[in-house]
């Protein structure tokens, strides 16, 4: 079974790439590929121009230092039996950074960055709240001053009010350090808010890619449109006569990939060519937006613009 197939993605320096898609479409797998936690069957992983596909163990270590990760469930992703102090020093130990007596101060400094300067670092993770832990996880990823952070659903497990905290924190970090992000989420709002560019995945492939504005305001792939339209928002409440594009059917099974366009069985525009020919990811004329749809942009542009408008809703006062 192929969880992810034929995907090419690039994250630029200081840029945030957002990756969205339905559950099981291969987002996490892609993240794990990027982090080299699973081996690629075919293809290349390049970091700063260097091919790191075949690197393992010690040879991968220098790369890892510049490439860090944040995961979904902060409690689960911290070792429950290590104190926060131990958790925090692990990156330094692992990469042979000897700070000696300065270690504690450095940890404090890092923690203060996320507003946790007053916590007792001898406590175990179980004694902190989810929001605190996610901040610890983020600051731990920052400890070695990486160039890119891969964050797999960093806010999904958190309460709405906490989600906003984390989003703010990540934005703040990027502003201060010029770090790159690969952020994965199924929450379109979050992605739309933080990302410079967005890639939309469906069943293991990228079906649309472009700047955040492009994707959020003028999605060209019918799937992206449905996705955006489906997510209930406050905006919907304010609009009279709003109608969402409903997808029929269920998310497909990655073990049984449809022929032609992978989305065709659920697509209301689908026609013969969609059933037989795999649509390539094509650049749309005049923009950097890439769409894998036979019918884009001619037959999808209008619906896209509507969806984008509906979603923004009425502009807020001020």
């Amino acid at each position: 079974m192929q969880a992810v197939a034929g995907v090419s993605l690039a994250v630029g320096k200081g840029e945030t790439l957002g990756l969205v898609g339905e559950s099981g479409c291969g987002k996490s797998t892609l993240a794990r590929l990027a982090l080299k936690l699973v081996d690629v069957t075919d293809g290349r992983v390049r970091f700063d121009g260097v091919d790191v596909t075949g690197l393992t163990g010690r040879r991968m270590l220098p790369i890892r230092r510049r490439l860090q990760a944040v995961f979904q469930d902060p409690l689960a992703s911290l070792n429950a039996r290590m104190t926060i102090a131990e958790v925090m020093r692990e990156p330094f130990d692992t990469h042979g950074v000897k700070l000696g007596a300065g270690l504690e101060a450095r940890i404090r400094e890092l923690l203060s960055f996320v507003g946790l300067e007053n916590i007792d670092i001898q406590k175990l993770p179980g004694q902190f709240s989810g929001g605190q832990l996610q901040r610890i996880a983020i600051v731990r990823a920052l400890a070695l001053e990486p160039e890119i952070i891969v964050a797999d659903e960093p806010t999904s497990a958190l309460d709405p009010s906490i989600q906003a905290q984390i989003v703010n924190l990540m934005l703040q970090i990027q502003r201060k350090r010029g770090i790159s992000y690969l952020i994965i989420s199924h929450d379109l709002d979050v992605i739309g808010h933080v990302a410079d560019r967005i890639a939309v995945m469906y069943l293991g492939t990228i079906i649309e890619q472009g700047t955040a504005d492009e994707i959020m305001q003028r999605p060209l792939h019918p799937y992206t449109q449905a996705l955006l339209s489906a997510a209930p928002t406050l905006a919907a409440r304010r609009q009279v006569g709003w109608k969402r594009i409903m997808l029929s059917g269920d998310p497909p099974n990655p073990a049984d990939v449809p022929s032609g366009c992978r989305f065709h069985p659920r697509c209301h525009l689908a026609r013969d060519i969609c059933r037989t020919n795999v649509p390539p990811l094509r650049a749309m004329p005049g923009t950097g937006q890439m769409v894998a749809c036979h019918l884009a942009p001619d037959e999808t542009a209008r619906a896209g613009a509507e969806v984008g408008r509906d979603r923004r809703g009425l502009p807020l006062a001020g």
Binding site: A164, L171, Q172, H186, V190, P232, R237, P251, R311
Partner: protein, 328 residues
């Protein structure tokens, strides 16, 4: 009025200490409305919802009164409560996969709601199960009825759950985060389905969620819980569009990311929700509240009417400025 909750409290004993999770809340639910309970994790939403159906944890102690169709539900013997669950009150939950018995076909589980209450014999119940599946818009109800839960998709499962809850024609449906585990596209389907069913069957729905998008879409009235207390209660439009309680206002932010210019700081509440047994004195929200003043630290705000809503806050946001407040 189908349901009336008065001074309802529920708590637990832990190491000899009484920990009150929900502390004296009162509200009414009118027949035919969609009543939504929102609040952060641990605020007591599920405990309240479950207690309405008499399903509070066996270790909990309760006080107050919950009257459903003029019948007291608290301290009613389980045998009598059981008669109500199914024919009077239907329940659906998050995570339909685990909520269905993995070893029985879906149809049998739906039919059981009827047979267990003696409402139909087996054959009839099976027939009705298929009908119910059809009613929840399952395309091939006969096949799904004989399928095991793991053999159908997540959306189908949640539909089957709904079919099961509604099989015996209850008038009240309590839905505890029915869409949380679902994908966006499926979530939309389920929400539309619930809205349709409500209309078709004249249901009253109590929906528990912390997804503001969902709330925005379906709520008639909203109850905002914070740390086991009512923060605000009132018509959905007022609460969503003109939140008066600082907590509600902050909560709405998450539903407004798309309205916030990209990369701009969101209006976040500082800190995290207090855990059970660690509720602050005075207004329970005061440590996180941007508007908190001295009285908030000590005096518990009484519940009072404020415009279209009722709330418990010493310094509510004036209606006219509420949205700006929420944004800044």
């Amino acid at each position: 009025m189908i349901l009336s909750v008065r001074d309802f409290a529920i708590g637990f004993q832990r190491e000899g200490q009484n920990l009150v999770a929900v502390d004296g809340i009162s509200f009414d639910v009118e027949a035919g409305e969609t009543f939504v309970i929102i609040g952060e994790s641990g605020s007591g939403k599920s405990l309240t919802g479950m207690s309405i159906a008499g399903l509070q944890p066996p270790t909990a102690f309760v006080s107050g009164s919950i009257r459903f169709k003029d019948r007291e539900m608290l301290n009613r013997p389980d045998a009598e409560l059981r008669k109500l669950r199914g024919p009077e009150i239907g329940l659906i939950y998050q995570d339909p996969l685990s909520s269905l018995n993995p070893v029985w076909p879906v149809g049998d589980q739906i039919a059981e709601t009827l047979t267990a209450h003696g409402l139909a014999d087996r054959a009839e119940a099976n027939k009705r199960a298929v009908e119910m599946l059809e009613r929840v818009r399952i395309p091939d109800p006969r096949r799904v009825a004989s399928a095991y839960p793991h053999e159908i998709s997540g959306g189908m499962r949640q539909r089957a759950m709904i079919a099961m809850a509604l099989a015996a024609n209850p008038s009240l449906l309590i839905a505890d985060e029915p869409t949380t585990a679902l994908d966006v596209t499926i979530k939309a389907q389920i929400l539309e389905l619930l809205a349709d069913l409500k209309r078709e069957l004249a249901l009253t729905i109590i929906l528990i969620t912390h997804d503001m998008g969902v709330v925005a879409e379906v709520a008639d009235r909203i109850l905002v819980l914070y740390a086991g207390r009512i923060a605000e209660i009132g018509p959905a439009d007022s609460i969503m569009l003109q939140p008066s309680h600082p907590y509600t206002a902050a909560l709405m932010t998450s539903a407004m990311i798309s309205q916030t210019p990209a990369k701009q700081e969101l209006n976040a509440i500082v800190g995290g929700a207090p855990g059970l047994g660690a509720f602050p004195a005075g207004c329970r929200f005061h440590p996180r509240c941007p508007r908190a003043q001295d009285d908030c630290n000590t005096v518990e705000p009484p519940r009072r009417k404020f415009g279209a809503v009722e709330l418990a806050c010493h310094h509510p946001i004036e209606v006219a400025m509420s949205l700006q407040v929420a944004r800044s």
